[in-house]
Every structure is written in structure tokens, then in C-alpha cells.
């Protein structure tokens, strides 16, 4: 980590520490009941106590989120390419994609359980894939088609073929759009996996665990699982950011230069 990135992160870390401190002290002083929101220290203790179960849950839910991401991003990217390339694909795929994006998870989750069985990873992988498919596809199309007309004329004057135009103009142009969609998709993936689990699954899965602990009035345990799900989302998001920095370093440089 260089000095400049440390400077970027420092304010966020400071704010985080301050919020936790205020939460702890404020709730202690005001005597807020733990069934409303427990204090961080209480959640922390619970996190340690329940760790073996929570770790299994994190692994399970994390696998669902990442699996769904991989499938949804791959399909969304492929559909985006097909749609940008062939007008006929646009007519077929776009309505399907819009339809898929409007499916309510609450209705869809129980159906996926019927398809694959509650103990399987596949119901949530399906839900996450469906959720991330649309933003990925739409941004891929946008990136491939929202190209400077002057650049297209330039490529035409070079007598560049479709494949060359794709590789050297449309593709690179689409990457920043694609990474924006990927970042949105990472946060969506955790929400999809956790919510998908509310309808059934192994008892240690984070979504089920939250439901069960809340039902049993063990709020600190529920909150420990909630924070773990948040952490999962943040880690996936940061992984997407890191990937973006490696794949298109010029983009972050240009944005900071402006």
C-alpha cells in the first residue's frame, strides 16, 4: 500500500472507529436494550463464541455469492456482447433480461428450492446470477456501443475489420462500464445470497442463522451474522476494485487527474 492509498483510506477507517466508539459508549450510557441493537462489544463476544458455526455459514454463503457472481457476470457479459453485436439478439435478449431483473426474489427463492433442494448451493447461486445478470448486461452493451463516433470513423479510415474494432476500440471502451457494473454486482450478490437463504437451507447458512437467532431472541448472535454478511460484501467489493485497478490502471489515474 502506497502513501497515497493510505491517505485515501485513513478518513474511512477513522470514521469507522469513531462510529463504533460512539455506538458502544452511547448505548451503554443510554441503556439501550440489546434486542433493539446490541453494543459492539456484545456482538464481538458473540462473534467469538459462535465462531465455528459462523465460519461455516460464511463459507457457505460466500460460496453462493461468489458462485452466483461468476455465473451471472459471465452470462451477462456474453449477452451484452451478443446484444451489442447483433440487432436480432437485442430484440430477443433485452426483454428477457428486463423480465429477469423484475422477478421478485421473495417469489423466486422458494421455486429455486424446489428445483435444487434446500441443502444445495444452487438455489442461491441461481438467485444471485439472475440478480447480477441485468446490470452487467446493460453496462456491457452501453460500454460496447457508447463509442466516440469520431473514433469509429477513424477505424473505418484504417479499414479495420469488426474484430479489430471490437478488440481495440469497443472492448477497451467497455471495460470501465463493466467494472462499474461488477462493483454493483458484488454488493447485490451478498444481499441475494442472504435473502435467498431465508426460505430454507442448512442451519448454519448466514441467512438462516439470522432468522433462527432472531426467532429465539438471541439478538447479539443475529447481529454477529449480519456484520459478517456486511464484511463479506465489503471484501467482494474491494476485490472488484482491486481487479479494476490491475486491469485498467489508466482509468483511476484519469479520474483522479480530472
Amino acid at each position: 500500500m502506497t502513501a497515497s492509498t493510505a491517505r485515501e483510506w485513513l478518513p474511512a477507517v477513522a470514521v469507522f472507529v469513531i462510529v463504533i466508539a460512539l455506538w458502544e459508549i452511547g448505548f451503554l450510557v443510554l441503556g439501550v436494550q440489546s434486542f433493539l441493537i446490541p453494543r459492539p462489544s456484545v456482538i464481538g463476544e458473540q462473534l467469538t463464541a459462535d465462531w465455528s458455526t459462523l465460519a461455516r455459514g460464511l463459507a457457505f454463503t460466500g460460496t453462493e455469492a461468489v458462485g452466483g457472481l461468476v455465473v451471472g457476470v459471465a452470462l451477462g457479459t456474453a449477452a451484452g456482447f451478443a446484444t451489442a453485436r447483433w440487432a436480432s439478439a437485442r430484440e430477443v435478449l433485452l426483454p428477457v433480461a428486463i423480465g429477469a431483473s423484475t422477478i421478485p426474489i421473495i417469489a423466486f427463492a422458494p421455486i429455486t428450492l424446489n428445483w435444487f433442494g434446500p441443502e444445495s448451493l444452487l438455489p442461491r447461486i441461481t438467485i444471485v446470477a439472475v440478480m447480477v445478470f441485468f446490470p452487467i448486461m446493460v453496462n456491457t452493451i452501453r460500454g460496447l456501443t457508447n463509442v466516440d463516433p469520431g473514433a469509429l470513423e477513424l477505424f473505418s479510415s484504417y479499414a479495420a475489420g469488426d474484430r479489430q474494432t471490437l478488440a481495440k476500440l469497443r472492448g477497451p471502451n467497455a471495460l470501465p462500464y463493466w467494472f462499474t457494473a461488477l462493483k454493483i454486482a458484488t454488493t447485490l450478490s451478498v444481499i441475494g445470497a442472504v435473502v435467498g437463504e431465508f426460505f430454507g437451507g442448512p442451519l448454519y447458512a448466514l441467512g438462516i442463522y439470522i432468522t433462527l437467532q432472531t426467532g429465539a431472541s438471541r439478538y447479539p448472535s443475529a447481529w454477529a451474522a449480519i456484520l459478517l454478511a456486511c464484511a463479506l460484501g465489503i471484501v467482494l467489493y474491494l476485490a472488484a476494485v482491486a481487479l479494476e485497478r490491475v486491469a485498467i490502471p489508466w482509468y483511476a489515474e484519469r479520474e483522479t487527474a480530472r
Partner: protein
């Protein structure tokens, strides 16, 4: 010096092969009621090595004519040949280097890689690409910026990169559509001088669209004055300035006489319509010289 007036430089002399030959070229956009005639019966021959400027008010079709020559759009009537072949063939043969008003550089590429872009597409070997890019960076005096990205350069520098990129594959014909239109007057004059020296060194035939009378006169061997509604050629002015042109050229009596002649050609054809086509700076300049 005044005795040489009217001799002309390469006014389509038959001994020099024609690069551009337009006969009765017209372009109409749309059909029926909505049809707009952008260009009507244009006859123009441009010889090899010439520097021809197209000038005229907005809507005179000068950019359309350039785009027709470059096969970015196709004529509705007439015949247009480039190096003796149809424009589409010439484009596929990579006869054109193009420079637009916007530099249109790829932000994800370094300056060197931007200059190499057409060479990559045309399948030049890597060694050759690097050698040419290095030579061109020297030509446009941007060696120090080889590994920078476009947004790190000023507008004038970016346009120099665009010119270097257009020259990279030795096109037979350089088409420039108001390449310095977005630059300030000082930068523009410096770019004019640079383009002049590049043209003298490379001998490339150049067709140059501009709004600026001083720029057209300073750069060209011939200035094609166009008029609007419908766009057509009003007059062709031979620029018989000495081949060697410099800052002094802009202050010479002959130079401002030619500026006046082009200005009158524009005014003569469109009384009262010339004003808006020229920027204030250009008008002040032209007036000051006259």
C-alpha cells in the same frame, strides 16, 4: 516579389498525377420534402503534393466534401476518384490519413501506443511500429511525452499526436477537418507553422477544411472558396506565396493581399453572410491586415 503573382503552384497541372478527381459531385441528405442538398456539382482536381484548403461559411458543404473524398459518406451524383480508383477502394487500400477537430485519442493507450494504433491494425511488425512511432514523436516534438496518456497533454499537444498518428502509415492523402479549430490563436499559428514544415518534409497531399482565412492562405497552394445553399465551389484562389513560409510571411504585403482576395471571394458570393462564418478573432486579424 510581386512580379510572380498569378504563376500559381501546382494548380492541377497535367504533368502531376491527380490524387483527387471530382466531376459533378453532389450530395443530398434525406429524400422528398425533407431532402437537403449539401453539395451540388463540384468539379475539383487535386494534384499530388498539393495543399488545398476548403473554406466557406457554415453549411457550405466543405466538411461534406472532405468526408466524400474520405469515403465516410457517399456522393449522390457525379464521379469521384482517388488515385484513379473509387473512394471506397482507396479507403480499403488505406490511402487516407484523417485528422478531425477533436483529436480522438484512446485514453487507455499511451501516446506512443496511440501513434502505433493504425500500424497495429494494418499489421506492421512490432519493431517497425516502434521505430515509426519514435520518428513521429520527434517530428511533432513530443518525445518527452511518449509514455504519458492523452489526458495528461494539452489540446495542442493532443492534436499533434493525432497528426503523427495520421502520418504513421504514410497515407497518400491527408484529410484534415478543422484540426486547429478548437485551439487558441497563438497555438493555432504555431501548429500552422509545424504543419507547414511537416508537409514540406513529407510531401503528402493535404486537403484541409477551415473557417480561418489567414490559416487557409498561410498553409495552402490553393484555396477553394465555397458558398452555401446549396454548397458549391464559388472560386479557387491560387496562393502564390513562396514555398518557404514563416512568421514573416504572415506580415508580407502579398500575404494580406491574398487574405483580402479570399475574403472578397467569400463576401462576393454571399453578401452579408460572411460575418457569422468567421470568428471575431479572424475578422479582427483580416481587417487589421487589410
Amino acid at each position: 516579389m510581386t512580379g510572380r503573382e498569378g504563376e500559381g503552384v501546382g494548380g492541377g497541372l497535367p504533368a502531376v498525377p491527380a490524387v483527387v478527381e471530382a466531376i459533378g459531385v453532389g450530395k443530398t441528405f434525406g429524400t422528398g420534402e425533407a431532402a437537403v442538398t449539401a453539395l451540388e456539382s463540384v468539379d475539383l482536381t487535386i494534384a499530388q503534393g498539393e495543399f488545398v484548403s476548403l473554406i466557406g461559411p457554415s453549411g457550405c458543404g466543405k466538411s461534406t466534401l472532405l468526408r466524400l473524398i474520405g469515403d465516410l459518406t457517399q456522393p449522390t451524383t457525379g464521379s469521384l476518384t482517388i488515385n484513379g480508383k473509387p473512394a471506397a477502394r482507396a479507403r480499403l487500400d488505406r490511402d487516407y490519413g484523417m485528422v478531425f477537430q477533436a483529436p480522438v485519442l484512446m485514453d487507455w493507450r499511451t501516446i506512443t501506443k496511440n501513434i502505433e494504433l493504425p500500424l497495429e491494425i494494418m499489421g506492421f511488425p512490432p519493431d517497425e511500429r516502434r521505430r515509426r512511432a519514435a520518428d513521429l514523436l520527434k517530428l511533432v516534438e513530443l518525445e518527452a511525452f511518449a509514455d504519458r496518456h492523452p489526458w495528461q497533454l494539452s489540446g495542442g499537444m493532443q492534436q499533434r499526436v493525432a497528426i503523427a498518428r495520421a502520418l504513421s502509415f504514410d497515407p497518400k492523402l491527408l484529410l484534415m477537418d478543422e484540426p486547429f479549430g478548437a485551439l487558441d490563436e497563438m497555438t493555432r499559428e504555431r501548429m500552422n507553422a509545424e504543419l507547414m514544415s511537416i508537409w514540406r518534409r513529407t510531401g503528402t497531399t493535404i486537403v484541409f477544411v477551415t473557417h480561418s482565412i489567414p490559416e487557409a492562405v498561410f498553409l495552402s497552394t490553393r484555396v477553394v472558396v465555397m458558398s452555401a445553399r446549396p454548397g458549391r465551389i464559388a472560386q479557387v484562389v491560387d496562393i502564390d506565396l513562396p514555398a518557404e513560409r514563416s512568421v514573416e510571411t504572415r506580415e508580407s504585403e502579398r500575404y494580406f493581399r491574398l487574405v483580402t482576395r479570399v475574403r472578397e471571394a467569400l463576401r462576393q458570393d454571399e453578401p452579408g453572410d460572411v460575418g457569422p462564418a468567421l470568428s471575431d478573432a479572424e475578422r479582427v486579424r483580416a481587417e487589421g491586415l487589410a
